[in-house]
C-alpha cells in the first residue's frame, strides 16, 4: 500500500506542471529583481543584455499556462506536459555562458553516428571520365601534364629509393605510394608563398616546388650537399626557399605549430595561408585537438589536411577512432570541413583551391579529409603483409591507382600519349640512379658541422669539445672513418 502510494505520488509529481503557479510567481519576481540590477544568470558583466526579454517571455509563459481552461490543461498533463508549438511560438531560450540556447523538454541524445556517412567529393570516375554533374575547377594542359608527370616521378622515386634502402645504401625510407594524387594535386593548388608544415608523407609538395632528384638523394644519403647537413634521418626534408618546414618525427606536433605560424603570417598580411598535414593516426594525438581548437579560437588561416589512408602502421582506422572519419571532427571545433576522394587528382585540386581561398579570405581554419589508401608499407621498417591481406594491397595498387585514373583523363584530352609515358619513365629512372650514385660518392659533412647550429653562435664548451675531438682523431686516425672530412 505504502509503495503504491509513493509510486503514485511520483507519477502525480511527474504529471504536475513543471513549475507550480506559486513558484512561477516567485520566479518572475526574482527575475525582475535580477534584471533591475542588470545581472545575467551568470552574474558576469552584462555582455548579453537579454534579461528583459527573458522576463517578458516568462511572463507570457506564465499567463498562457495559468489562464488555460482546466480541462485542456489536465489533458495536456496526461499526454505531454508541453507541446512543441508553444516553444516555437514563444521562442523560449536560456542565457548561458557561450550564448543563448533554446530548451526542449525532450531528452534527446545526439546519435554517435548519423545514418549516412558524410559523402566524399569526387570528380573523375574510375574510367577517367568526369562524373556527370560534377563541378570542378578546370585545369589547363600545362598544369595537368605537369601534375601527371610529377605523380609519375614521385612514384618512381619512391620505388627506387625503397630499393636502395633494401640494398643497404640508405638506412631508411618512407614511400607515398597510393597518395600521389594528394601530394601533387595539393601542391598544384597552392602557391609558393603558402607555408607547408608536413607530416612525412608529402615529398610530392617539395617535388612540385622544384626540389631536384639530386637534392632528395643528398638528404637521404646525408652528404655534404644535404641542406640538413646530415643531421636527420632520410626523408626528413626541409627547405626554406621552398617554404617547406623541416620534417619532425613526433606525430602531429606540427598542428599547433601551424596555428602559430599562421598567427605570424596573419601579421604579415600576405595572400597566403599555412598548410599542415597529418595522417589518420595523427588525429589521435593531443596536439591534433590543441592545434585545431586553437586555430579556430585564434582565427588562424591554416588549412589542415588529413590524409586518411586507412592505416597508422598496423592500426586500422577502425581501431583509431570511432567517429565517421576525420571530417566530422571539424564541426566539433567550429571548423568548416570537407571530405574528398584523395585518389582523384582533379577533386583534390578543386577542393584545395576552394579551401585555400576560403582560408585566406575569411582568415579561418578549414579541415580537409582526403580518403586514400596506403599502398606501400609504413616505412622500410615495416612489412604490412603481416597485418593486412596481400590481395587488398594489390587491389588498391592496381584497380584504384590514382595515377591510372588521372592518366586516363589526361590521355582522353589528348595531352598525353603512351610514348610520352615510356619516355618519361625511362629518363626519370636513369636520372634517379645517377642521382643516387652521385649522392653516394659525395663526401659526408665535415666534423665542424657536428657542433654548429646547436645554438646560433658556437658556445665555448662546444668549441672546446670540437678541438679535443680533432686532437683525438689526429692521434688515432686509424680508428675514425675515412670518409668523414675533418
Amino acid at each position: 500500500m505504502a509503495i503504491w502510494f509513493s509510486r503514485s505520488r511520483k507519477i502525480a509529481h511527474f504529471l504536475k506542471p513543471k513549475i507550480a503557479p506559486s513558484e512561477f510567481l516567485y520566479k518572475i519576481c526574482s527575475n525582475y529583481a535580477n534584471s533591475s540590477s542588470f545581472r545575467t544568470l551568470g552574474g558576469e558583466n552584462c555582455r548579453n543584455p537579454q534579461v528583459f526579454s527573458d522576463y517578458s517571455t516568462t511572463i507570457l509563459a506564465f499567463r498562457r499556462r495559468w489562464w488555460r481552461p482546466e480541462s485542456t490543461r489536465a489533458g495536456e498533463q496526461v499526454e505531454t506536459p508541453y507541446s512543441d508549438d508553444d516553444y516555437e511560438d514563444e521562442n523560449q531560450a536560456l542565457d548561458f555562458p557561450g550564448g543563448r540556447v533554446t530548451f526542449t523538454p525532450e531528452m534527446k541524445f545526439i546519435s554517435e553516428a548519423s545514418d549516412k556517412r558524410i559523402p566524399c567529393y569526387r570528380v573523375l570516375g574510375d574510367d577517367g571520365h568526369p562524373i556527370s554533374g560534377s563541378r570542378y575547377e578546370q585545369v589547363d594542359k600545362e598544369t595537368a601534364v605537369k601534375m601527371y608527370k610529377s605523380m609519375v616521378i614521385l612514384q618512381i622515386m619512391d620505388n627506387i629509393f625503397y630499393e636502395a634502402q633494401r640494398q643497404g645504401r640508405i638506412s631508411f625510407y618512407l614511400t607515398s605510394l597510393g597518395e600521389e594524387a594528394i601530394n601533387i594535386a595539393t601542391a598544384a593548388a597552392l602557391t609558393l608563398d603558402d607555408v607547408i608544415l608536413p607530416q612525412y608523407r608529402e615529398p610530392g609538395i617539395l617535388l612540385w616546388r622544384g626540389f631536384t632528384l639530386q637534392e632528395f638523394a643528398n638528404q637521404c644519403f646525408g652528404n655534404n650537399a644535404d641542406y640538413g647537413k646530415g643531421r636527420q634521418m632520410p626523408i626528413h626534408y626541409g627547405s626554406n626557399k621552398h617554404n617547406f618546414f623541416t620534417i619532425s618525427s613526433p606525430i602531429a606536433t606540427q598542428l599547433p605549430q601551424a596555428a602559430g605560424v599562421a598567427y605570424s603570417l596573419k601579421m604579415d598580411k600576405k595572400e597566403a595561408c599555412v598548410v599542415a598535414f597529418t595522417g589518420d593516426g595523427g588525429t589521435s594525438e593531443g596536439d591534433f585537438h590543441a592545434g585545431l581548437n586553437f586555430a579556430a579560437v585564434l582565427e588562424a588561416p591554416v588549412l589542415f589536411i588529413c590524409r586518411n589512408n586507412g592505416w597508422a602502421i598496423s592500426t586500422p582506422t577502425s581501431e583509431q577512432f570511432r567517429s565517421d572519419g576525420v571530417v566530422v571532427k571539424g564541426q566539433a571545433y567550429g571548423i568548416r570541413s570537407i571530405r574528398v576522394d584523395g585518389n582523384d587528382a582533379l577533386a583534390v585540386y578543386s577542393t584545395i583551391r576552394a579551401a585555400r581561398e576560403m582560408v585566406i579570405r575569411e582568415q579561418k581554419p578549414i579541415l580537409v579529409e582526403a580518403l586514400s589508401y596506403r599502398v606501400g608499407h609504413h616505412s622500410t621498417s615495416d612489412d604490412s603483409t603481416k597485418y593486412r591481406p596481400i590481395n587488398e594491397i594489390e587491389y588498391w595498387k592496381t584497380a584504384r591507382n590514382p595515377l591510372a585514373r588521372f592518366q586516363k583523363w589526361v590521355h582522353k584530352n589528348g595531352w598525353w600519349t603512351d610514348d610520352d609515358e615510356s619516355e618519361l619513365r625511362g629518363s626519370i629512372r636513369k636520372q634517379l640512379l645517377t642521382a643516387i650514385q652521385v649522392a653516394e660518392k659525395t663526401e659526408k659533412p665535415p666534423l665542424a658541422e657536428m657542433f654548429s647550429d646547436v645554438y646560433s653562435h658556437l658556445p665555448s664548451n662546444l668549441h672546446e669539445q670540437e678541438k679535443s675531438l680533432r686532437e683525438t682523431i689526429k692521434r688515432h686516425r686509424q680508428d675514425y672513418p675515412t670518409d668523414v672530412p675533418v
Binding site: 607555408v195 606540427q254 601579421m267 593531443g286 586553437f294 647550429d453 646547436v454 645554438y455 646560433s456
Partner: protein, 422 residues
C-alpha cells in the same frame, strides 16, 4: 601582522632582537634607505614591458596573462598597453600554446611563453625539447627558434608534489636550450632581457617565493638597454675558505648562512642511498616567518656564524644553468679548495651533481675535502608543513635538535691543517 611578529619573537626564541628593535629596523629600511629597491615581480614586469616596446615581434602568451594580469601578476598592465594581439590569453592547453609559440618562432616572431608553473611544462615538453631545442640543429640553421619559456620553478609553500618540482636539471641537460635561473631583481631584469633578445630557445626559471622580495637596484640596471650576459655566474660574496654555489632562492639562503648571527645551527642528517645530504637549518622559517624574517633582519649588515668561526665563504650565484659557468666555479674552488653545492631540486642527476663532476674533472688536485651536495629530499614534495620544511634545504634554528654544526668548523679547520701540497 603585529600579532604574528610578537608571536614569532616570543615562540621561536630568537634571543637578541625585541619587537621594538625589530620595528625600528623595519622603519629604517623603509624610510631612510637611499638605494632604490624593486621587487623581482616589478623587475620582470619592467623587463617584459621594455622588450615588448623595443621589438614589435615580441609577444606574451600563456594562461591568465592578459585579463587576469598574470597568474602571479608578472604581466600586470601589459594587456592594456599592448592589446590582445601581443598579450594572448590561451585555453588550458600547454601542448597547444607551446606548440603555437614554437610555430610562431619558426616563422619569425619572438614569443614569450608563460607556464603557470614549470610543472605544467611537462605537458608541453615535447614541443620544448623535440621542436624548440633541436630544430636549429636538425634543420641545419634554416629554422631558428628565438623563444623564451618562463614561469615559476621549484618549491613554493604548501603546494604539494605536483607543483613543487625543480626542472633546472631536466632542461639543463638538453643541448640547444639555454637555461637561466635569476635570483635578485637585477638578475631577473638583466637575464630576462638577454633571454628575449637571444636567438636561441631559453628556459627562464623563476621562483614564486622570490617574486615579492625586494632587492636594491642601481640606476644602470633600470636603464632599458641593460642586460646580463648569459653563461656568466656572479660571485655574490667573496671568500677564501669554502665555495658555496647556489641558484635562485638558494642564493638567498647561502648568503644568510654566510652572514647570519645565531647560536643555533642544526644539521640533521638525511640519508640518500650512500650519499649523505645535509640539510642546513639555521632559523625556523615557514612562509609567514620567512617574510617576517626578511623584514626583521638585514643579512647584509650582520656578521655571520661562519665569519664568527673564522670561515669566510664565497657565495656564487650561478645565474645560468646552461651554459654552466664552469670557469668561475673552478677558479673559485682553486682559491678556496672546498665546495658545497646547494639546490632545491632532487639530488640524483641534479645541478649539484654536474657541478661536482665539473670540479672533479678540472680541479681535482685543488680539492681539500670531498664536494658536499645539499639538495632537496629524494621524495615527492609532501604537503604537510612540517614535512615540507624537512624536504627542502631550510633555514631553521631550534635548540632542541641535534647540533652538528659546531663540529663542522672544527672539521674544516682540521682539514685546512692537513692540506696536501702538490
Amino acid at each position: 601582522m603585529l600579532g604574528v611578529i610578537r608571536q614569532r619573537v616570543t615562540c621561536r626564541g630568537i634571543p637578541t632582537l625585541t619587537l621594538e628593535q625589530g620595528m625600528r629596523v623595519v622603519a629604517s629600511r623603509t624610510f631612510s634607505s637611499s638605494a632604490k629597491e624593486i621587487t623581482v615581480r616589478e623587475a620582470l614586469n619592467s623587463a617584459l614591458d621594455e622588450e615588448m616596446s623595443a621589438d614589435p615581434r615580441v609577444f606574451l602568451m600563456g594562461e591568465e596573462v592578459g585579463e587576469y594580469q598574470g597568474a602571479y601578476k608578472i604581466s600586470k598592465g601589459l594587456l592594456e598597453k599592448y592589446g590582445p594581439d601581443r598579450v594572448v590569453d590561451t585555453p588550458i592547453t600547454e601542448a597547444g600554446f607551446t606548440g603555437i609559440g614554437v610555430g610562431a618562432a619558426y616563422y619569425g616572431l619572438k614569443p614569450v611563453i608563460e607556464f603557470m608553473t614549470f610543472n605544467f611544462s611537462m605537458q608541453a615538453i615535447d614541443h620544448i625539447i623535440n621542436s624548440a631545442a633541436k630544430s636549429n640543429y636538425m634543420s641545419a640553421g634554416q629554422i631558428s627558434v628565438p623563444i623564451v619559456f618562463r614561469g615559476p620553478n621549484g618549491a613554493a609553500a604548501g603546494v604539494g608534489a605536483q607543483h613543487s618540482q625543480c626542472y633546472a636539471a631536466w632542461y639543463g641537460s638538453i643541448p640547444g636550450l639555454k637555461v637561466l635561473a635569476p635570483y635578485s631583481s637585477e638578475d631577473a631584469r638583466g637575464l630576462l632581457k638577454a633571454a628575449i633578445r637571444d636567438p636561441d630557445p631559453v628556459v627562464f626559471l623563476e621562483n614564486e617565493l622570490l617574486y615579492g622580495e625586494s632587492f636594491p637596484i642601481s640606476a644602470e640596471t633600470l636603464d632599458s638597454s641593460f642586460s646580463l650576459p648569459i653563461g656568466k655566474a656572479k660571485i655574490e660574496r667573496e671568500g677564501k675558505d669554502v665555495t658555496i654555489t647556489a641558484f635562485s632562492k638558494m642564493v638567498g639562503y647561502a648568503l644568510q648562512i654566510r652572514n647570519l648571527k645565531t647560536n643555533e645551527m642544526v644539521f640533521p642528517r638525511m640519508f640518500y642511498n650512500r650519499i649523505r645530504v645535509r640539510v642546513l637549518r639555521i632559523i625556523c622559517i615557514n612562509l609567514q616567518s620567512y617574510i617576517f624574517y626578511n623584514c626583521m633582519w638585514n643579512p647584509y649588515r650582520l656578521p655571520g656564524i661562519l665569519a664568527k668561526e673564522g670561515i669566510s665563504a664565497e657565495v656564487i650565484n650561478l645565474r645560468s644553468i646552461r651554459p654552466l659557468d664552469r670557469s668561475t666555479i673552478n677558479a673559485s674552488v682553486r682559491k678556496t679548495n672546498r665546495l658545497v653545492t646547494v639546490e632545491e631540486g632532487f639530488p640524483q642527476h641534479g645541478v649539484g651533481a654536474e657541478i661536482c663532476a665539473s670540479v672533479l674533472e678540472d680541479s681535482f688536485e685543488y680539492l681539500d675535502a670531498p664536494v658536499e651536495r645539499i639538495a632537496g629530499a629524494d621524495v615527492p614534495m609532501p604537503y604537510a608543513a612540517n614535512l615540507e620544511r624537512m624536504a627542502v634545504p631550510q633555514q631553521r634554528g631550534l635548540a632542541t635538535d641535534q647540533v652538528h654544526w659546531p663540529q663542522l668548523p672544527k672539521r674544516y679547520k682540521e682539514l685546512k691543517l692537513t692540506k696536501i701540497n702538490l
